[in-house]
Symmetry: C2
Amino acid sequence: MALIVQKYGGTSVGTVERIKNVAKKVERYRDQGHDVVVVVSAMSGETNRLIALANEIHDQPPARELDVLVTTGEQVTIALLSMALQKDGYDARSYTGAQVRILTDDAYGKARIQAIDADRIRKDLEKGRIVVVAGFQGVDEDGNITTLGRGGSDTTGVALAAALKADECQIYTDVDGVYTTDPRVVPNARRLEQITFEEMLEMASLGSKVLQIRSVEFAGKYNVPLRVLSTFEEGPGTLITVDQEETMEQPVISGIAFNRDEAKITVRGVPDMPGAAYKILGPVGEANIEVDMIVQNVSADGTTDFTFTVHKNELRKALDVLKNVAAELGAKEIQGDASIAKVSIVGVGMRSHAGVASKMFKLLANESINIQMISTSEIKISVVIDEKYLELAVRALHTGFELDRDAAAK
Amino acid sequence: MALIVQKYGGTSVGTVERIKNVAKKVERYRDQGHDVVVVVSAMSGETNRLIALANEIHDQPPARELDVLVTTGEQVTIALLSMALQKDGYDARSYTGAQVRILTDDAYGKARIQAIDADRIRKDLEKGRIVVVAGFQGVDEDGNITTLGRGGSDTTGVALAAALKADECQIYTDVDGVYTTDPRVVPNARRLEQITFEEMLEMASLGSKVLQIRSVEFAGKYNVPLRVLSTFEEGPGTLITVDQEETMEQPVISGIAFNRDEAKITVRGVPDMPGAAYKILGPVGEANIEVDMIVQNVSADGTTDFTFTVHKNELRKALDVLKNVAAELGAKEIQGDASIAKVSIVGVGMRSHAGVASKMFKLLANESINIQMISTSEIKISVVIDEKYLELAVRALHTGFELDRDAAAK
């Protein structure tokens, strides 16, 4: 007998038939004697339909009213799912974010949860009820309706699991777990049984977008075991946990993430003096351009080369911003390159294993792939390479670090 | 400077364009310096769409969850209308029933308002805001969402007007006021400038369904001046007020109501003894059949004829129920007749004018229309006649009591 929080996204509840299917999944856990709290998103397409209505009226819909509008999406789903559960003979109750009382700040459209009153839900669970909660929404101190921002239903699930001290928070999606890399690139990619929060964060932010980063951070912070599973297929999914003893037995590398969306900008011949980095990146930041990797090498002959990556869509804009800056700085040249890709290996095992970086570089060298930039963190190593070698690099690394399905079966 | 509560129904807010149009109407009042609180229904068709979704899941959707579901309809409208007002540069705020706090009992689907906390709205009005409130919905003591039953948005408007001590509650519909009778039957029917609550109640319950009866009762009880106007046309509409001095100057008769939906049942030769009426109507009531007119004449030769009307759809059922009863009572015969119509003249002037009934009977006799049943109250006289004479009767009465447009112009 455990207490389980399950979260189903918009695709999982996209039609009446799918809502009935979700009810069956919930009931199976209830039948096993578990207490179940279900968090649901709006039916897929509904949020966009509502936003389109708003846009017909106002090109920049006022944030407070937009939240009042879009929260009706989840409210519809909780009612329908509760009906489906009751139709099958289960006692169920729906709650909006305001009804639970998921208290947030008043930042409409991107509110942060401040407190959750779990009493009402606990009382329902004690009565044997299944509790169905609207994801993505809360209420501020003055009773105004707020939303946590798109995809915020994951956060609702994790926050409820933390407040209820649930044994597990299950996030149902359209994939059956977290993979060692994208199966479309490496057919031998393998579903991970387990991954740590930190690895998951690195994987997510690097492009393997299975979960909302915020919800993973939240789960890590409150130590809520998180499981990613498929709504449409049976299977154990992937469990995301804190870095426990047993994970030391795992392979050194958990997965390979990659990203084709970045472009590289190099400012050459920057006079090597204090404040140069700020002079370059300050105006870029002010122009609201997000910078990802930043690499600066030691100087030769009093100048240095400064390289960073931005989203491909913002390359043009970033180059424009830098034109004036370069002149001011006395830099020799500015180069932009959109035909790059970033590949990263991620794994907590890296911490206790030497030579992971050099193995990565050797595997790439074996394929004659030139490395343009390198950046490392405690549990990840990222390289920028020519975009055309991306698939080759990912496959070579996947095999080289023994992540292939066959390798695991050994 | 007055405080006005305006209520717009589903048709008035049925499209984004119409919502923008409603915003313009609201703004015109605001521009005149009035404080405005707007109550809106769900966009037309939306409530039915939601109920259809529920019915795909549950043939008898649980009442609590159905209320959670359908209240999203008005929540969408309040957000969109507030956006439209803000787009035009007006400060506006939307509130759900729960947010205002319209406290109701917990009778889901047909809840009754118990109290309204008007503080929040008053504070907004003081700040110069237009307040937009979701009609039809409330919240019980435990924070469960409730609805007032279909058409309950009128009740929300009147209740808010009472709580705020508004100067006027304006109900916008697709007709431009209350008419002396149905203009489809009498082309000369005239819009009434003013009518009393009592007359309105008699008119409404007799088939001139412009307003929900409950909201008229409510308005009468709390003395809220009610005005019926058209959303789509300009005009003063009809003001519904208490029976004041000046109404004594009005014509004797305010309007002619009629109803084609009833059928007549006659139990002949009922032994004239105590309890006979109960023996007949008791089982009918137990079968959940509503009875309207009831007429029993004095007895001749120790038996009497007992006649009453029910809805046409329930004639068959009522006759079935009575079969056994008649035998038990020793009644001679039971007759059902679906080809009848009821015509009523309504007017507070009746109280102080003698001879109104005889004038009505004379006008009908002039047209050779036979009267089958007569029933009277203080401000109305109803007769049942053969259905085929309905139009003729209504026109004759309309002209005879000088309700025609030309007559009024004299």
